[in-house]
Structure formats: C-alpha cells, structure tokens
Symmetry: C2
Subunit: 217 residues, 2 copies
C-alpha cells in the first residue's frame, strides 16, 4: 500500500496546500486577496471538498476585525463543545499570552441552559445565547452548528445594539440555516459566512485558525 | 426574515430528517438496510451535503459489532479532541451506565506524544496510536482526522494481530487519506468508512451516534 509513513505534520500540510492550489488555480478562488484565500484554503483543507468555499462571504473587513480582537484577548463564544475543543489555546497564547481556557466560552451543556430549554420547549442553542447576552460586545462569535444560535445573536445586534467584534456564522443543516445566514447579511458588523446549508464546527474553528495565520506566520 | 424561532431540538431533527428523506428517496441510499440508512442519514444531517454518503462503506457486520461493543462498555479511542468532545456521554451511559470520561481516550495532545513526534519528525497521530497499542483489542476506534492514525491501526491489525471491535475510518484530506482507507479495506475486522478524500471528526462522531440510535430508539 502506497502510504507515506514518515512525513511530519508540517510536510503533510505543505503537500496538502500544494494540491489545493493546483486544483483551484483556475477558479474564482484564485483571485481572492491573500488573507481571504487563507480562509478558503483552510476550509478546503478541513473538508477535502474543493467546492466548500464557493459560497464563502466576507463582509465589513472581518479578518482585520478578528486580528484586532484576538490581540485584545477577546472572549471567544462557541455554539458547540466541538468548536471549543478544536481551538488551539497554544496558538491563541502566542497572539496574546492572557488567553486561558476561561476565554473560550460554550454554554450549550450548562445545567441551567438544559433546564431552561426543556422547560420552554426551545433549543439549548438559543438559551445559551440568551445566557451570554452580556458577553457579546467585543467578542468573537463562532457558530458552526445551530442556526438559532446565529439568528439570536443577529437579533441582539439588530434590535438590542449588541456589538460583537466578529461573527463567524457557519451553522449547518436543513432547517433555519439558509435563513439565519441571510439574516446575518443584514448586519453591518464584521462577519464571515458560508451561505447555503453547509457549515460545521470544524469549519468555524478552521476559519478562526486561518485568521490567526496572518499574525503567526 | 422567515426564521422559525420556537422549534424544539426534536422538532428540528424531525423536519431535517424529512427533508433528507425527500431528497434521497430516488437515489441508491434509499435501498440501504434500516441500520445502514441511519448512518447515511446522520452523515447527511451533520454535513448538509446530500452526496456525503455516496462512498459510505460497511464491511464485516460493523453495526452489530459496534452495538455489542458499546453494550460491553468498550474503550472508545479517538484520533482528535474534537471527536472526544463531540461524543455524548449521556447517551453512552444510557447504553451502559459504566461509561465514564475515562473510557473516551484521546492521546493526540499528551505531552509524551508531542515530545516523541517532535523528536522523531513523525506525526503526533501515529505516535498516539503507538502509545495506545495495548488498548486496541475490543475497542471502538474513531478516526476523523489523521490518515496515519488509521493506517497505523490497520497495520497493527494486519501485522500484529490487534483485534479492535470496530473501526470507523473517516480521516479527511489530500495526503495518505485515500490510501489509508484502501488499506482499511484489506482488513477482515468490522469497519465503516467513507472512501475517498472526505471525512472529518464530526462524521466519525455522528456515525457512532447513528449506531447508538439502534439501541436507544
């Protein structure tokens, strides 16, 4: 079997990026500015789907907003535990040594959130956003799972003057997903999204890691 | 904006499954046996990609093997922290109350694994499998990230008589991924895989959750 056993992680990444470049260089992705291309490339790298970035959308200078928020040690609010566990604390600490686990917030499995959702017949996702309303200003919001997490955040922006630094809006699925992303496009705050049904926790994580590359490389 | 705010999690899942059924009922997926269909449906649900299950492969009665291993509280060895954090301990405990966090094993960020990988110029993934060689027998192996994690596990099966209960082999990417899955197909132990480049931590997690549905529903 033709397996290359002795490659290092860095060598595998370099070879992967070479293949991605080869397979996208005659597509519109090749015309993206460098910082946006890094996001597209990481999305393709994470999914091995050459077309995953075709609906990638940047609005209101989100990469610069993300860089500045990371440098200020902004709270990072995640809609799933998988997002929180996928974020590299080591890399965050290279950007700002003040980063600790406590700055990576996910309330989806908090007892009070579970109880409230069950009692009210609503999703845990929406109850978690409500719980963290007071943390939204200046935070980086990562949504890779629940569309109502994104929609509730957007509602706070539009109707309650919340001012997150950056929203990475990539919920996934068949119900409320397309709609929540359209709702996001009515915001004038910085955001990155994948329009349509596609998304996922790994995609939200890798988008923030791609932003971090601009500081760390 | 046409967002349906007041759906419960169960209602969203039910509606999602309805859409997936509608969009796949004239495809080969519709002919899958019930237990395999549940896996395909969850993969589509997790990615919102109707074609994600087109290369889904089952071999050596893997769903029954998984059910029996879960009922015996088998170790679940994960190649990424995202997999471990995505697994539902609450559901596992409904199957076997002896399940604890300690049965969900991931060594990718262990200090000794990081040190060894750096020293030897190899991947952390392969060093993590080596560290857990003594745990492979009767374990459920979840690979959603690193192809060399899958390849090393297969090598232990073929050349060192390791006997995992079930391998869910869904690494993702451009280097060694297709090859590691082809290597898996030479095993005579139970496995589920997504042939080709596609895969991911969320897909490995959701495959095990789909197997669990057969016990819990």
């Amino acid at each position: 079997m033709n397996i290359r056993w002795n490659l290092s992680g860095d060598e595998i990444e370099k070879e992967s990026f070479r293949v991605i470049y080869e397979e996208t260089r005659n597509t519109p992705l090749a015309t993206l500015p460098e910082q946006e291309w890094r996001v597209a490339r990481r999305l393709i790298h994470t999914t091995a789907d050459i077309h995953i970035a075709d609906t990638l959308t940047f609005s209101n200078n989100p990469i610069q907003a993300g860089i500045e928020a990371l440098q200020k040690c902004a709270n990072i609010i995640c809609d799933s535990k998988m997002i929180r566990s996928g974020l590299s604390l080591a890399k965050l600490q290279k950007i700002n040594p003040q980063y600790t686990e406590e700055k990576l917030i996910c309330s989806i499995s908090d007892e009070d959130v579970i109880t409230k959702a069950k009692k009210e017949g609503r999703t845990r996702a929406i109850c978690a956003v409500e719980k963290n309303r007071h943390l939204l200003d200046n935070a980086i919001i990562l949504v890779g799972n629940a569309p109502l997490s994104l929609a509730k955040t957007v509602q706070y922006v539009l109707e309650d003057n919340a001012k997150p630094a950056l929203i990475i809006g990539m919920p996934v699925g068949f119900v409320n997903v397309v709609e929540s992303k359209e709702y996001l496009t009515t915001c004038s705050i910085p955001y990155i999204s994948l329009l349509g049904r596609r998304g996922g926790s790994a995609l939200a994580v890798t988008t923030l890691h791609a932003i971090m590359e601009n500081i760390l490389d």
